[in-house]
Symmetry: C2
Subunit: 279 residues, 2 copies
């Protein structure tokens, strides 16, 4: 065994360990999407303060938090500062996901990786369209997770992701490639809850890979089928994200408490299905 | 003819007009990529001042400027401010391209579009993997241009973009879809100079669509073949971007003058080939 192989296998443990520990910490697969939309937020509250109160009210219920960069960039100059402060406010042991959906040629991707990981995130989402060499600048941060978009939750995802290739539909091909490219053991996939039958295929192709699942809640994804098809053999391996449904449960002063109630119910629904499955 | 059709055809003229005017202004297809890399820049100069001097020294030679977001985001908090000031420093009548390679589900994409266009850019690059509904939040800014990644300039682009589909390789399928999705006449394509034979296919599929061509210079793309295969019938329709080769021609105090010399030579090479072709 070469020193390189040793190093790779050590870091392989590192990221999957972090993920498993985050799942076990609160016995939860629920990830809250912190997507600040000023039109839906309570009035007279700053974005960071909004995030901080949501995190404080829910951090015993979740596997982690996902920040979609679109909403922060729309804040203008302040966006990056608010993201950095928000990541710092996430308690130790929980996961932070940069939902940035980046991808560029290798030289540029190196700068994206530096930009995003210097904000403190544990993991990020990446678009696979540019191929392996565009992914490596992210995966080479071996202790960080890289989730490749595979089957996204929007209706239009069919246009491209379902096109037939010699190796199944394009999203199936991507799921296979993700395995080939996974030399540091830190790659995951993104597969929407809005298409559970496709999630089933993705899980068959990658029995052990973590899958980030958006689309539960406002986008109408089916929780039961998501869990039935998406859980790995250990009853884990899914990160189920919900954003609008949780964080905009109320625009009143008690928004954080209301968010907590929705999050607690979601976590309970998820765990109810998870544990009944194993009986 | 419905009022909607009228409006669409007016805006169609608007973006393609802007592009044609930018091309005619300096009789140039050359676009300079302003990709600030502190390791390659002259010492003791701020990024905005670097950009400003490059623009001042080259603005009579180019069709416009392209800013790759990766390099600005890597600057941290200041990145967005520097981009905004740089776009403001680009003279009227030249094109500004946000090379952001964004894509997200429709709700989030709306926020990306707002974020990027509020910086003042005329156009941006978008990744097509999420399908039509993820593109529309960008194209619905009818006076702005949306360039879809089609065949990128990196070696790894083959991994996904060349996979066979029932309608040709994936990048050919994307080139066709771009035509279907082009209801406001403001969609363009990105096709690297590193694969001129693929550029030829893309131009055959979309005879009139503007094509943004990175990969000349540091990435080794072939200028002659790029022009032979990529020009439209009017000898235009290409935006040929060069970054490192131009802006890092020198690290000395006279870097802007050196950049000007390289840009002037490139413009002359391009026009030499362009005009000899028409004889």
């Amino acid at each position: 065994m070469t020193p390189f192989t040793v190093a790779a296998s050590i870091t392989k443990v590192e990221f999957s360990q972090k993920l498993k520990q985050a799942c076990n910490k609160n016995d939860s697969l629920l990830c809250i999407g912190l997507d600040p939309n000023p039109n839906l937020m309570p009035e007279d509250i700053g974005v960071f303060e909004f995030n901080r109160q949501i995190i404080e009210a829910t951090s015993d219920l979740v596997i982690g938090y996902k920040l979609n960069f679109a909403f922060y960039e729309a804040l203008g100059d302040d966006g990056w500062k608010v993201m950095k402060k928000t990541v710092e406010a996430i308690p130790e042991g929980l996961l932070s996901i940069a939902d940035a959906k980046r991808a560029d040629v290798p030289n540029s991707a190196t700068f994206y990786a530096r930009a995003i990981f210097s904000l403190g995130f544990d993991s990020l989402t990446v678009n696979p369209y540019l191929g392996q060499d565009s992914i490596e600048p992210f995966t080479s941060y071996k202790e960080k997770g890289t989730f490749l978009l595979c089957r996204t939750s929007n209706p239009g995802s069919r246009d491209i992701q379902e096109i037939k290739t010699p190796e199944g539909k394009l999203f199936e091909f991507i799921a296979r490639k993700a395995g080939e490219w996974n030399k540091y053991g830190n790659i995951g996939l993104v597969c929407g809850a809005t298409c559970p039958e496709d999630l089933e295929l993705v899980r068959q192709i990658q029995p052990d890979m973590p899958i980030l699942v958006p689309g539960v809640g406002a986008q109408g994804g089916d929780l039961k089928l998501t869990l039935r098809y998406g859980l790995n053999k250990e009853g884990q391996g899914l990160i189920i994200t919900s954003s609008r449904q949780v964080i905009y449960a109320s625009r009143e002063k008690n928004f954080a408490l209301k968010a907590r109630q929705v999050a607690a119910n979601l976590r309970e629904s998820i765990n109810g299905i998870r544990y009944s499955r194993n009986r």
